[in-house]
Structure formats: structure tokens, C-alpha cells
């Protein structure tokens, strides 16, 4: 055989070998789909509604034009809408900016803010809130101008609540809310 014939035969053998290698892909195989499903993220949100100031007579007042005198107690009630979605969601609802710009003599006034859930239960800063607490909360701030204020103390003074707010902050899920392992 001449060189050309030998080359042709070698090429043919190579093609046959390639075809044989392809045959190895044709063994049994099976595919299936995963059942992981779809993961949905939860939600955390806090929306402060419009608050209302009332005086000691339980009358609505416009705080911008109201002038308070010793002996009065003013109350600010504000609805909070808390969104807590997530099976292991844990969050804390706290006050922020607890240092208002206070032009009153400190001894003349007392202020306090309480947060309560929809059932009226007081929520402390370390109270764990989970998805069952999703819903309405109420923030109640009281401002008391002490009746025993002497002389002309705190006349024309101002008390600015501009820095006061609320923070809803997710906490790291802990063992308390993790479902216990299934027993034998």
C-alpha cells in the first residue's frame, strides 16, 4: 500500500474510535427536578401614623399654638403599624432620640413614653416581638408640667420632641424560637 492508502485507513480507524467513544454516552440515565420549592423573604416595617395631642380635659389641641402652664398634663397618642413577617422573625421596638431639646428647667417637667401592643400590653425595649405581633401598636407620650413650679420658672420655655422616634430592629433568631428537634 502506498502512503496515501495507509493514511486513509488510519483516518478511518480514528473516526471509528470517535464513534465508539460516542457510544459510551448512550448508557442509562435519569433526571428529576429538585423539590426545594420557592423561598420567600419576610418583611419588617414600621410606619408612624398621625399622632394627636390632648390636654388634661381630653380635648384635642394643636401643639404648635398651645401654651402650657404648670399643673397641666399633655398626652400624645400615636398609632404605629408594625410589619413583622418571617417564621423566625424577632425584633425589638424601642424609642430613639431620648434627648429632646429641652428649654424647661428640668425639675419642672416630667416626660415619659410607653409603647403598647394591640392588646394594650406594654412593650419594653427588650420585649421580643415575633410574627404574631404583626399589627398595630400605640405610642403614648405624656408631658407633665409640675404643679409646684415656683416663681416664674420655665415661663415661655419650649420642649422640642423633634428627635424623638421609634426603631424596629430585627434581632438574631435565637434558640427560644427555633423549633425543637423531632424526638424518636
Amino acid at each position: 500500500m502506498n502512503k496515501i492508502a495507509k493514511g486513509a485507513i488510519a483516518t478511518g480507524v480514528g473516526i471509528v474510535l470517535l464513534a465508539g467513544g460516542g457510544g459510551t454516552l448512550a448508557v442509562w440515565n435519569q433526571t428529576d427536578i429538585g423539590t426545594q420549592g420557592k423561598i420567600s423573604a419576610g418583611d419588617l416595617n414600621l410606619v408612624a401614623g398621625t399622632g394627636v395631642w390632648k390636654n388634661a380635659k381630653n380635648e384635642d389641641i394643636t401643639i404648635g399654638s398651645y401654651r402650657v402652664v404648670p399643673g397641666e398634663v399633655l398626652t400624645y397618642t400615636q398609632p404605629l403599624t408594625v410589619t413583622l413577617e418571617g417564621d423566625l422573625m424577632v425584633a425589638h421596638l424601642t424609642l430613639t432620640g431620648a434627648s429632646p431639646v429641652n428649654g424647661f428647667v428640668p425639675a419642672d417637667v416630667t416626660t415619659s413614653t410607653t409603647l403598647t401592643d394591640a392588646a394594650g400590653v406594654t412593650v419594653e425595649g427588650n420585649t421580643p416581638l415575633d410574627k404574631d405581633h404583626d399589627g398595630d401598636f400605640t405610642a403614648t407620650t405624656t408631658f407633665a408640667f409640675r404643679l409646684g413650679t415656683e416663681g416664674r420658672s420655665s415661663v415661655n420655655a419650649t420642649y422640642d420632641f423633634k428627635d424623638i422616634g421609634y426603631m424596629l430592629e430585627q434581632q438574631t433568631p435565637n434558640a427560644d424560637i427555633v423549633a425543637p428537634p423531632v424526638g424518636p
Binding site: Y66, V155, T158, F161, K162, Q170
Partner: protein, 197 residues
């Protein structure tokens, strides 16, 4: 060579610190949301009490700009000298001019008068007596408001927000004053205290 090792060690420490900071930061990077209260600003009312001696002059504030008590010089009527056995009258109008939003009543109390002799050699004070009563207005301050049974000190005056009250004073010179005291004078000071009521 030693410098190179030192630099490497420093680099490792820096990387560790950065990683540590990132790790700590990461622990706080959970969801959170902040809302403001928009509660506004509370303003205290003023405590503005005015004093007037007549209906023509502008009332003055009971407190000066320096925060001290103001003094109001009253004008007696009739004007001029008082003869032994006669009386002179003077009134002061107290106004509750607060800008308080709620009800704000004040109570006005008169203190004991202090009589100061202008000439210590002629102590006229011993022949002077003072009475005060609540009056309907400054214009009605006069002898008709007084009688021998009128007590020296009136009951406290209660004044509602935006209203006025008047005290009328009667200063009497005893009929027994010796003629040697003629022409002498004395100053009378009556402290007024106002409380929130």
C-alpha cells in the same frame, strides 16, 4: 529582613482587625426601620400680670425685663394734702394677661403695708392707717367702698384669664395728729403677690 517580617505581621494584624470589624458590623446589619414621632414642640405660656394705676396710662408688667418686681407709683385722689381726719384713695388694677391656652386663674394677695417716714424727726406713720377693698373698677375707687367696719386687709382677689381686678386703698390721717406734724409726708408701700390659682 526583620523589617519585612514586621511589615508582614502588621499587614496580618490589619487584615484581622478589618475582618473583625466587618464581622461585628455584620451582626448589626439586620433589618431595621426608624420612624419619627413628629410630636412637635411644647411651649410654656407666659405669666404676664399687669398693673395699672389709671385708665389712661399703659399698664406695666409686674415683672421687669430683668426679672425683678416692678414698682408702680399710685396717684391718690383727691390730689394734694390730706387734712387730719380725712382720707385719700388710690387704686391699682391687676390684669391677668397670660397667653395660656388652658384656664389660668390667678390669685392676688396684698401684703402688709409698710409706711416709711420721710422725716424721721416727724414720724407721721403713727397717724396713718390703711385699708384696702376690692373695687369694681378704678373709677369707683373712693369713699363709698369703705365703712368703719371694713377690715384692713381684703380677701384675695381671683382673676380669670384675660380679666382684670382692682384693689382700692384708703389712706386715712388720724384726726388726733398734732399740728406740729403739718407738712410732713410718709411713703406707703404695699406688696402685691400673685399666684397661679
Amino acid at each position: 529582613m526583620k523589617t519585612t517580617r514586621t511589615l508582614k505581621a502588621t499587614g496580618l494584624v490589619l487584615i484581622a482587625v478589618v475582618l473583625g470589624l466587618l464581622t461585628v458590623q455584620g451582626s448589626y446589619a439586620l433589618w431595621n426601620k426608624v420612624a419619627t414621632s413628629n410630636a412637635g414642640t411644647i411651649q410654656a405660656a407666659d405669666f404676664n400680670v399687669t398693673l395699672a394705676k389709671n385708665l389712661t396710662d399703659k399698664p406695666i408688667s409686674m415683672t421687669t425685663d430683668q426679672g425683678t418686681a416692678a414698682t408702680l407709683q399710685l396717684t391718690t385722689k383727691p390730689l394734694g394734702v390730706v387734712k387730719p381726719g380725712d382720707s385719700a384713695y388710690a387704686g391699682v388694677q391687676v390684669g391677668n394677661m397670660t397667653n395660656a391656652s388652658a384656664d389660668f386663674k390667678i390669685q392676688v394677695l396684698l401684703g402688709a403695708p409698710t409706711i416709711t417716714n420721710n422725716n424721721s424727726q416727724w414720724p407721721l406713720a403713727q397717724y396713718l392707717s390703711i385699708k384696702a377693698v376690692e373695687a369694681p373698677s378704678l373709677a369707683e375707687c373712693g369713699s363709698a367702698l369703705f365703712s368703719p367696719s371694713t377690715p384692713a386687709s381684703p380677701a384675695p382677689l381671683e382673676i380669670a384669664k384675660g380679666a382684670n381686678g382692682v384693689f382700692c386703698f384708703q389712706v386715712s390721717l388720724a384726726a388726733t395728729m398734732p399740728a406740729t406734724f403739718n407738712g410732713q409726708a410718709a411713703s406707703i408701700s404695699v406688696p402685691i403677690t400673685v399666684n397661679q390659682f
